[in-house]
Amino acid sequence: MAGGGYGDVANSLPGGRVGVGDPEHRMRLEGVRKQVIETGRNRLLVIGALFGFGFLVIAGRLVDVTIFKQGNEPRLAQAVPASTWKAERADIVDRNGVLLATSLATASLYANPRHILDAGEAAHQLTRLLPGLDSAEVESKLTSNRGFVWLRRHLTPRQQYAVNRLGIPGLYFQREERQVYPHGRLLSHVLGFVGVDNRGLAGVENSFDETLRQSTSALQLSLDVRLQHIVRQELQAAMTKFGAIGAAGIMLDVHSGEVLAMVSLPDFDPNNPGVGPVEATFNRNTHGVYEMGSTFKIFTTAMALDTGTATLNSGYDATKPIRISRFVITDYKPKKRWLSVPEIFVYSSNIGAVKMALDVGTANQKAYLARLGLLRPAAIELPEVGAPIVPSPWGKVHTMTIAFGHGIAVSPMQLVSAVAAIVNGGIMRPATLIRRGPGERDPGVRVISTATSERMRRLLRQVVAQGTGRKAAVKGYMVGGKTGTSEKVGARGYRRKALLSSFVGAFPMDDPRYVVFALLDEPRGTTGTYGYATGGWVAAPIVGRTIARAAPLLGVAPVDETAPRMRRKMYVRINSRDPRVASY
């Protein structure tokens, strides 16, 4: 029908004026009407098709979205991740993961004085609950015309509960965080402390302030709480026994440079750093620089052996004291004869050490001490680091005094690092407070040859076996070391009675693993020490007892020092006589 219609339309359209009455006309009219209907129908069809297509697209998309998987769609629905709680400052833990510092949430009490109804009564009630608050001061705060006054920071939960129970309107709590040190005074100088706004002001808290604020994982120190406790206890006991005004102690791993213990006495409680004397915050280990005395003979002897100006068989004449400008250099216990190098070291002869240093020469001495890190501040992650006091210009007289540890002041940390380099095979590594994994060892710098280091071990062992450091001996652990005693500088030169007595030891001496250092500031001799307050009498026993207690914890197996193998390993001919100077 439609097909015919088209034909009609095609035929009729060109035609013009036709009569209506005749059949032909009727047929044509019918064609026109039909044509209009057809057009309308066609339009509907097109629109319907369009809509149909639209619905089809929507339906298809619906199926696609609901039934089929999208490429970027996760296989499993993801829940909102459980937010982990982050403290204001990350924890600090020791090498075994024992918590040393953490921040805990506390409540701080503040008031809006405009909401306080009865200031006098409120002040009375609060001072009764919170000791340390001044009633008049609180009342003046509560009557002031401000909208916010702090009353007390960091309440205990019990205090918060009690204040809440008072039911005084206008008192509010602010949730805050407070740094807490569970071990109290044990690690005071290493950890440092934070201010009221939780910013690190001293110690590790200060040097790692940024890290601690940003990190969520704990900062692991190289310290061991148990060793720290042992060192502190022994130092404390010695300090009390000898009436010393201060003490310092360090334990260091000679191979990694990790500090295992670092104690400075007197100390403070980092939980309340403001309380107590200011000098208690002084870290003697890193901040204090001292003339170390005879412990420097370790370096003098090492550089003499390393440069070859002296051997274990050579020696020097120590009959007469040395006079240079206004100084007279004497021995503490003069032997008044020719002394071999081992004798000079073991009996701690100043005269011998001076002569050894003169042979090494000023330039060489300076170079060796620089490489041992004794001329620049200690490399340790603490803000409290003291710069060494080094002579300038470095003359011959300085070479002579530095030979036995006078005329140069270094911090105990520098000394311990340098001694570690001497005994560990000759590699200098910076000391660190951060735990190092087995693979994170610093390559270090060679400062003396392995052979020199090996000879120095023997010499250090002999000091404890038969020299000035006998009191540091611990059966089974092959302790070696060197005593040091120096007079403190007063207003008028050296003060004879104010001593700095120290001992630096290492063990086990056949293959040293740890260096232990102890220093007493102004010890006084007791009847037990026959009035002596020298390093050998007061500091060596501290190191001995520390090693005796610490070695089992460190897993150092005891050995038999009297066994022939060990004796051979540690053998030094002490009384060697050079035939050429036999006439002395």
Binding site: L104, P182, H183, V225, H229, K475, G476, A557, P558, D560
Partner: protein, 133 residues
């Protein structure tokens, strides 16, 4: 026929609508629970944190030392107490006369014959220790 299919579609639409809202409310409830659980986890974490601090405080070496002195008969390890297996003496040859007859004691347990006291007493010379490690 036409009415029936309309009815069918209507029922279907109502069912689907119901299902949709049901799922929606379920998801909403689950999300609320999730938020609640997350808050609870946070609280637990804070509490563990406080407990960890307390644990560390209770484990300070000074306190442990006091407690050990009060409650234990243990002292610091002495050098003589540490030995190695190689430093132990050989077991003396088994003597059948030493064991009373009829006790059922096997020849392999000489330790029971010893008097009470430290059974592993190292020899005074610990020469083998260093060779063992």
């Amino acid at each position: 026929m036409r009415g029936r299919s309309t009815f069918l579609w209507l029922v279907l639409a109502i069912m689907v609508g119901f299902g949709l809202f049901h799922v929606k409310y379920q998801v909403q409830a689950l999300e609320e629970e999730l938020t609640r659980l997350n808050a609870a986890i946070l609280k637990e974490q804070q509490q563990t944190h406080v407990l960890r601090a307390e644990w560390s405080y209770l484990n300070t070496p000074t306190r442990l030392e006091e407690l050990a002195a009060r409650h234990l008969d243990l002292g610091p390890v002495q050098t003589a107490q540490i030995g190695s297996v190689s430093s132990l003496p050989w077991r003396p040859a088994f003597r059948s006369r030493a064991a009373p007859a009829g006790t059922g004691m096997k020849p392999g347990s000489p330790a029971k014959e010893r008097p009470p006291g430290p059974t592993l007493r190292p020899r005074p010379a610990l020469a083998h220790t260093s060779e063992a490690d």
